[in-house]
């Protein structure tokens, strides 16, 4: 195997960073480029609720010190947007028109918060929690003891809700189909889970029972800054609105590459796309499940890290298949606590 191969990794989340780590171990001489849209090196997004516990320094969130990349000769390119991948020429095109040639490409661009199309017109009134910058912006906006309305739910939003309740904020949950995303629950489980959330101090509104979200308005001066109006006329107000409807894979830049895409990049159990030089790992890929006979996503920190590691090994000569690294079920303990493997990170 050539020692001068250029491995390009798009995304510095859990999968991308793990892949770079494994690649460096297995190919000490190879050139590795890690491309990220973020201004920060790899940090733990699962840890972001800590900004509400007084942790405001970005350095506190970094998984590895900045010197890590230099020491391992991993070319980290921050604030870099990939706009296209030309698989025939093996070139990644960046938005400043630079072309980056690769021998192998790992797409680990992850997912971004999904905003249902019917709410898209209200985007200016909504906040995000997908990055350190967004988390800090939300913290600055939220007054002491202020209120947050979480639209939808999902395990990322509910994780934040736990912290917000702990830190003395008011949390309203407009529950919907994605409340426990990525878990799939039965109607009975759902009732029990929502009751647990209420016992935790979250005010739950079943969105569908209220006629769905009809509109979102900016609040009047002197009152809460946001107002959610439901189909039956009921309203709820909050200082911050956080849409939490799960993730949508970030694949736009791959559309011209020719590799198979449904919602995410379609990959074999060994994480290979239809192009032999391109693999994918993490929240961006849909992996073929021979058992379930369908392409499916595997979420959670442990799964994503395992994918990053596997992709790097398969890029460097192995041909192993992905085995889920964590349980996917949601448990209620003692009627008062929810345990999700999605929240288990270290």
């Amino acid at each position: 195997m050539s020692a001068t191969r250029h491995h390009v990794i798009i995304g510095t989340g859990v999968a991308g960073n793990q892949a770079a780590r494994t690649l460096r171990q297995r190919e000490p001489a190879a050139r590795i480029s890690l491309l990220t849209l973020s201004a920060l090196p790899f940090y733990n997004r699962y840890d972001l609720p800590r900004v509400f516990r007084g942790v405001h320094d970005w350095r506190e969130f970094l998984v590895d010190p900045p010197s890590y990349y230099e020491e391992r000769r991993i070319g980290l390119r921050r604030c870099t947007r990939v706009v296209n991948v030309d698989a025939k020429r093996k070139v990644v095109v960046l938005d400043h028109n630079e072309e980056l040639r690769y021998d192998t490409l790992l797409v680990a661009s992850g997912g971004r918060a999904y905003l249902p199309e019917e709410l898209s017109e209200y985007q200016p009134l909504l906040d995000g929690f997908g990055s350190f910058e967004q988390a800090m912006a939300m913290r600055r906006k939220l007054p002491e003891g202020g209120s947050v309305a979480i639209l939808g739910g999902d395990m990322i939003g509910l994780d934040l809700a736990r912290t917000l309740i702990d830190t003395g904020h008011r949390v309203i949950l407009a529950a919907g189909k994605q409340t426990f995303w990525p878990h799939v629950e039965t109607p009975e489980q759902r009732r029990e889970l929502l009751q647990v959330l209420e016992r935790m101090g979250i005010e739950v509104i079943e969105s569908d029972e209220e006629g769905g979200i009809a509109s979102i308005r900016a609040g009047a001066r002197g009152f809460a800054t946001r107002r959610v109006v439901f189909g039956n006329g009921r309203e709820c107000t909050a200082d911050v609105l956080l849409p939490s409807f799960g993730l949508v894979p970030s694949v736009e830049f791959m559309l011209g590459s020719g590799v198979g895409i449904e919602r995410g990049l379609l990959v074999s159990p060994s994480l290979r796309t239809t192009d032999e030089s391109i693999l994918a790992a993490g929240d961006v890929c849909q992996i073929w499940s021979g058992e379930e006979k369908r392409y499916r996503f595997y979420y959670g920190w442990k799964n994503v890290r395992a994918m990053g590691d596997l992709a790097a090994r398969n890029l460097t000569g192995d041909d192993e298949t992905f085995e889920p690294a964590q349980d996917e079920t949601l448990h209620v303990e003692g009627g008062a606590t929810i345990h999700s493997p999605f929240w288990e990170y270290a």
Binding site: V83, E117, E118, A214, I261, E262, R263, L266
Partner: protein, 604 residues
């Protein structure tokens, strides 16, 4: 350059000082326009997109409307429902350039914002005395009728439905295409003396007109009967009932569903609706179903959302209305209860394969992966086919049982022409219009003994760049739409509301005006590299030579690596975004700009 020089005589545009207009048929000029104006090349009707967008940017909406109308006949209609092949080709959408220009929305703006007293321009030919019958008053038939009447022929249009418009009226819901817009533009297209016989079928029945008789009574007959028969979908019946698929009241083909609705029939759907199909008809069925009260509507497609031939805007609006799209599945059966009512659709899971010849992605079913999705109404919208059993004369058919036509547009029967979806199978409205117009030219040439119009390249010097670099940073303007809560239950309420004047001008400014040809006069260039320094892209190159292909288009540039290899300094028009920075920076004024575009002129 082989060109005739003629004085500029256009009344409707300010002339550049001392300018001369050149008309060229040189393959290099034809090739340049074909290669460098991708939107116009992609448009089946050949609409001069940069010209009308420039007119809009300068506030000349009426002229923009006429530029459109001269090519695509129904700008207000197409501005609402076109499949937008131009936007897929737009240079602004190429990698690294951002999003394509909203060409279709601008077309609509030209129609919406033209003055109330706008006058239509038609360059009429003298009457020829020739009589032509056209079968079918859909987009292809109406476009052909319009052009043939402009060329001086007497045209009679036979339409079996009570109203003209074909698929436009009966296949497309009113919330996408308001009928007053359709009526207005159709009347404009047919007002030059076209006789319209509504409710008159052509066929072999007792009350029908026979094609053989039409041929006897007319100098030429054009078949533009469209493609209105739904493709069958073989589905097995599962469950307890003994019903066949055809006998199930909850299963209907999408196009007859829409056509019935638009003829005024009362259509109903049950709570959960499954639509199978990946085209505009499938999307329309799903959106109509939501308006009819369905609570859960899902479109099931064989490949994935990224590969289906509908616009992103349509998909977005459908999703806003609560419609879900599920990919990688092929329907194989239906599940019925004891009463013969639908309870579900059985699918098989697919994986993606390679690419088909038509550019679509292949879907390959996975054995043993069947599953059932519960639903109570199934609408099948997987495509249409042509029907030609109404013909009372024998003519040659192709392998798909479509009518075969020659290069001259004529079938194997003398004087009998055919065009549009009736020949090609299902396409798009703009393709049907383009083919209708081409057919009109061919009929005219046959009747008159020679082509009377031809396409040449008009080259007009331009004194200065028409764009500013700042325009490249304007974001795509989004079409305002009706509030969601107003849409339900109202099939006639138009969803897209049209852009206002400010949005329209902003969007028009985004157009690169690809018809502007920037050239460097090598003899006057001092090779100072000032233009290269200011170029925002790698668009100005020092080259050893340039390949000219046999069709006149420019091929690859052979870039020079050393100064002693430089044969020329060359503007790579493929990369050029017509910002004008090089023109402004040149200290010796050796960069010239011309506007190169196709125009139609009379043959000598």
């Amino acid at each position: 350059m082989s060109a005739v020089v003629v004085p500029q005589d256009r009344e409707d545009r300010e002339s550049p000082s001392n300018a001369q207009v050149m008309l060229s048929e040189d393959p290099r000029d034809v090739g340049w326009v074909t290669q460098n104006i991708p939107c116009q090349t992609a448009c089946p009707a050949g609409t001069n997109v940069p010209a009308y967008i420039r007119a809009i940017a300068e506030g000349r909406h009426g002229e923009a409307y006429e530029i459109n109308r001269s090519a695509n006949v129904l700008p207000g209609v197409l501005g609402r429902i076109c499949s937008r092949p131009c936007e897929s080709a737009c240079r602004h959408g190429w990698p690294g350039n951002g999003e394509p220009v909203g060409i279709c929305n601008l077309k609509r703006s030209a129609a919406d914002l033209k003055s109330a007293g706008h006058r239509i321009t038609e360059r009429l030919y003298a009457p020829t005395g020739k009589r032509i019958a056209i079968v079918g008053a859909g987009p292809a038939g109406v476009a052909a009728a319009h052009d043939l009447s402009v060329l001086g022929h007497d045209v009679t249009l036979f339409e079996r439905e009570q109203y003209f418009g074909g698929m436009l009226r009966y296949g497309i819901p009113e919330f996408r295409l308001p009928r007053d817009i359709l009526d207005f533009e159709m009347h404009n297209a047919l007002r030059l003396g076209v006789e319209l016989r509504r409710g008159q079928s052509v066929g072999k029945g007792p009350d029908e007109v026979r094609v053989a008789d039409l041929l006897k009574d007319h100098d030429a007959v054009l078949l533009a009967a469209g493609c209105m028969a739904p493709l069958p979908l073989p589905l097995k019946v599962r469950g307890d009932a003994q019903e066949s698929v055809d006998g199930c009241p909850d299963v209907e083909h999408g196009l007859p569903f829409l056509m019935g609705l638009h003829r005024g029939e009362r259509k109903t759907v049950r709570r959960r609706v499954a639509v199978v199909g990946a085209g505009f008809t499938a999307l329309d069925c799903a959106r109509v179903a939501t308006r009819l009260g369905a609570q859960e509507v899902t479109i099931h497609i064989r490949t994935a959302e990224e590969y289906i031939p509908v616009t992103k805007e349509e998909i977005f609006e459908a999703k806003r209305e609560g419609i879900r799209i599920k990919g990688l599945r092929t329907p194989v059966g239906i599940v019925l209860d004891r009463e013969g009512r639908l309870t579900g659709v059985e699918f098989v899971q697919n994986r993606l394969g390679g690419w088909r010849k038509d550019g679509r992605r292949q879907a390959i079913p996975i054995e043993g992966s069947e599953f059932v999705e519960p639903c109570e109404t199934l609408l099948v919208a997987i495509g249409q086919k042509t029907v030609n059993d109404f013909l009372d004369i024998r003519i040659e058919l192709d392998q798909w049982q479509n009518v075969r036509i020659g290069e001259d547009g004529m079938t194997s029967a003398r004087g009998l022409f055919a065009c549009g979806d009736f020949v090609t199978g299902p396409t798009t409205v703009v393709e049907a219009i383009g083919r209708g117009r081409q057919s009109a030219q061919k009929i005219d040439a046959w009747l008159m003994g020679k082509p009377r119009r031809k396409r040449v390249v008009q080259i007009v010097p331009v004194q200065e760049p028409l764009r500013e670099r700042a325009f490249d940073f304007i974001g795509r303007q989004h079409m305002p739409t009706a509030p969601l809560h107003d849409r339900m239950g109202k099939n006639e309420l138009e969803v897209e509301l049209g852009m206002n004047t400010e949005q329209t001008v902003q969007e028009a400014r985004r157009c690169y005006l690809c018809n502007l040809h920037y050239q460097i006069d090598v003899d006057r260039c001092i090779y100072c590299r000032a233009c290269i320094e200011v170029a925002p892209r790698n668009c100005i190159k020092l080259v050893q030579g340039v390949e000219v292909r046999s069709d006149g288009t420019y091929g690859s540039l052979k870039e020079a690596r050393e100064w002693n290899q430089v044969g020329a300094i060359w503007i790579d028009n493929n990369e050029c975004i017509r910002c004008g920075a090089c023109f402004r920076a040149c200290p010796v004024n050796c960069i010239s700009i011309s506007c190169n575009e196709f125009v139609e002129v009379d043959t000598a």
